[in-house]
């Protein structure tokens, strides 16, 4: 059963179309990530689900209940804000218990739940502190504690990790994911960090200008981006996207940096720079007025200015329509566009000539 169902929801502020005709469903117990660049309407979508904003049109269901017109308090939702929104004058314990006090949960029950949440999040020794006496990660945990103590089936998170440093972020990412699975919470998680989305999500909703660009499982989003936007948004460095015929044509092809093979044979390209990242090196090459990023394992010995051969396996290619940016799956098998069908496993040289001569 789907726990959250967003149906054709739009939100306009005057001429600003923050969210436009967005629909998706979240299966109970799953983690959905809303991903997209700044200003694409992720927060607005989340706030619409929470009831902090009213929809312009469309409907929102939680479980089987239509909550479109319900105030936030009636939706049985918890939320973690980007700034945590902790009450600065209350202790950690009081912050976590805030909602239970509002709902007049009996003291015994309150204590029981507080102890459980504190143990779960490792906050036992911090309960009497004020938020200002906590580190960013600890504050984040308090915010998380306040969300999960309510034991609501749905939890919303708006960029909860963006204030943390890289290491803590990776750690909290795992903690949140574990907690979500452990407690069986349905979670909608907003982020603009694609690696966060890929590592945590059961389902990623990629947004752009208020619309859904692609909704898919992380691996599918990576393997079959629906548009050039999706292709460039996922992966670091992003997918190389180049015209099939240089400077003209209505067809683009994409190849991920990790799928490029640098060697002695292949299309000759000139090395522009090599960025060593530890496990691998990002090599930027110029070829035919275009630049290509390639990810090669280890510390690659490609001096700047040297000529290398660029090769790839044809099955790793993606094709996109130049005008609409949309994925085209017909190309790879179309004989007109692609004389050498991938089934025949053409040599890389053949592939190159195919592009170069068109």
């Amino acid at each position: 059963m789907s726990q959250i169902s967003v149906q054709n929801v739009s939100k306009y502020w005057g001429a600003t179309r923050a969210v436009e005709n967005v629909s998706f469903d979240a299966v109970a117990g799953s983690l959905i990530v809303l991903l997209g660049p700044s200003g694409c309407g992720k927060s607005t979508t989340l706030r619409l689900i929470a009831g902090l904003e009213q929809v312009t049109s469309g409907r929102i269901f939680l479980g089987s209940q239509d909550v479109t017109a319900l105030p936030p308090a009636k939706r049985r939702i918890s939320m973690v804000f980007q700034s945590y929104a902790l009450f600065p004058h209350l202790t950690v314990a009081e912050n976590i218990l805030f909602g239970l006090r509002v709902r007049k949960v009996p003291a015994v029950e309150r204590t029981r739940r507080l102890n459980r949440v504190a143990a779960l999040l490792g906050l036992d020794s911090l309960l009497e502190r004020k938020p200002s006496q906590l580190s960013g990660g600890q504050q984040q945990r308090v915010a998380l504690g306040r969300a999960i103590i309510a034991e609501t089936p749905v939890c919303l998170m708006d960029e909860p990790l963006s204030n943390l440093d890289a290491q803590l972020r990776a750690e909290m990412r795992r903690e949140i994911r574990t907690l979500q699975q452990q407690l069986g919470i349905t979670m909608v998680y907003v982020t603009h960090d694609q690696s966060e989305a890929m590592s945590m999500a059961d389902w990623v909703i990629l947004m752009r200008n208020g619309r859904i660009e692609q909704a898919a499982r992380p691996e599918d989003l990576y393997a079959r981006p629906a548009s050039t936007f999706a292709a460039r948004f996922i992966g670091t460095p992003p997918m190389n996207i180049l015209p099939v015929v240089p400077n003209t044509g209505d067809l683009l092809f994409g190849i991920r940096p990790e799928h490029i093979i640098l060697g002695d044979t292949g299309i000759p390209a000139r090395v522009q720079s090599a960025e060593f990242l530890g496990a691998d090196t990002i090599v930027t090459c110029a070829y035919g007025g275009q630049t290509l990023a390639a990810r090669v394992p280890g510390k690659a010995a490609f001096p700047t200015g040297a000529t290398v051969g660029v090769q790839w396996h044809p099955e790793n290619l993606h094709f996109f329509d130049a005008a609409s940016g949309l994925r085209r799956d017909d190309v790879a098998t179309s004989p007109r566009e692609m004389p050498a069908s991938p089934k025949n496993a053409p040599s890389f040289e053949e592939k190159r000539t195919c592009f170069a001569q068109k």
């Binding site: 929470a50 902090l52 105030p71 936030p72 308090a73 939702i77 918890s78 939320m79 804000f81 700034s83 929104a85 009450f87 600065p88 004058h89 209350l90 805030f98 909602g99 509002v102 709902r103 004020k130 200002s132 306040r146 309510a150």
Partner: protein
């Protein structure tokens, strides 16, 4: 010690260089010269008069050729036996305990009102703040008209219901209340500004987080807004207390302490004793008492409240 000295020699701090150059004195003189203008003003107009007042309170008032003589605590005994002093003190307590909570409550209410989303907010802000920019004398004169028997605003409004006239300021039962109203009206707008500034420091996400938890507006105000405003409240409270003893312009304009001393506040009484009756020694005595009273109040407020306040 021996281990430290070589280090200190190796890297002398900047001040030490001056000291070695023999110009430490110059630095001190320079510093004192910079402080001098402010210090002179402070001493001449604050510290010296305060100390002199304290000394004067132990002397008699000089009259004609007879100079001041030391009388010890005589002036204080006179004060304790003075019914007008007790009356003024009592008035002042009533005045303060009404004006202070009313002003603070009104200031807070107005700040909450215009902090929210309502139409005509800039206009409301301006109108709430206007009384503050008027001098107290002008305010008193405006209200003098409001309170005028018969043709005053208050009587004109009441005249719609019954035709009797009221002498608001001349009646022992209403005079002090009238002055209280003026003081509240004058100061609430000023304190509102501080509350407004403090309210805008509170993140709107706190209200959203509370709303998600099911907290109503009143609950949120009680548990979150009000505690977060406590530093402002303390500041406003101290100022309101001081104002309630300090501002007597409206009494001079409106009632002159009458009828039958029902509106005589301490400072007004001091002014009368000192500059109408010219009993300067007794006025000094009353001033000392007023100052001690104010100091105790301020200190008490800081000591008691400070511990319970959350500062960000």
């Amino acid at each position: 010690m021996h281990g430290v000295e070589p280090l200190a020699v190796a890297q002398p701090p900047p001040q030490a260089q001056y000291a070695r150059g023999g110009s430490a004195l110059a630095v001190h003189i320079y510093g004192w010269l910079l402080l001098l203008p402010a210090a002179v003003l402070l001493v001449a107009f604050t510290h010296y008069p305060a100390v002199q007042t304290l000394i004067d309170s132990f002397y008699s008032t000089p009259r004609g050729r007879r100079g001041a003589v030391f009388v010890g605590l005589d002036n204080y005994q006179t004060m304790l036996a003075d019914p007008v002093f007790w009356r003024a003190l009592q008035n002042n307590v009533v005045y303060a305990t009404s004006v202070i909570p009313l002003t603070i409550a009104l200031a807070l209410a107005m700040a909450l009102l215009i902090n929210g989303k309502i139409a005509g907010r800039p206009f409301l802000r301006l109108s709430f703040f206007t009384p503050t920019v008027l001098p107290m004398i002008a305010v008193a004169n405006i209200w003098l008209f409001f309170y005028s028997p018969g043709y005053g605003l208050l009587d004109q409004i009441l005249g719609l219901f019954d035709s009797s006239t009221h002498n608001w300021l001349g009646d022992e039962h209403t005079a002090l209340g009238c002055l209280i109203a003026v003081a509240v009206w004058k100061d609430a707008g000023f304190f509102m500004i501080f509350y407004l500034a403090a309210l805008q420091q509170i993140s709107p996400q706190l209200a959203e987080a509370a709303a998600l938890e099911g907290a109503g507006r009143w609950y949120f105000f009680r548990r979150v807004t009000f505690p977060l405003l406590m530093p402002t409240t303390l500041f406003v409270l101290v100022n309101a207390v001081i104002n309630s003893f300090r501002l007597v312009d409206h009494i001079v304009v409106m009632t002159q302490g009458g009828p039958d001393n029902t509106t005589a506040l301490l400072l007004f009484y001091i002014y009368e004793v000192g500059f109408k009756f010219w009993d300067t020694a007794y006025a000094a005595t009353l001033t000392v008492v007023l100052l001690v009273l104010l100091a105790c109040l301020a200190l008490g407020q800081f000591l008691i409240l400070d511990r319970r306040i959350h500062y960000q």
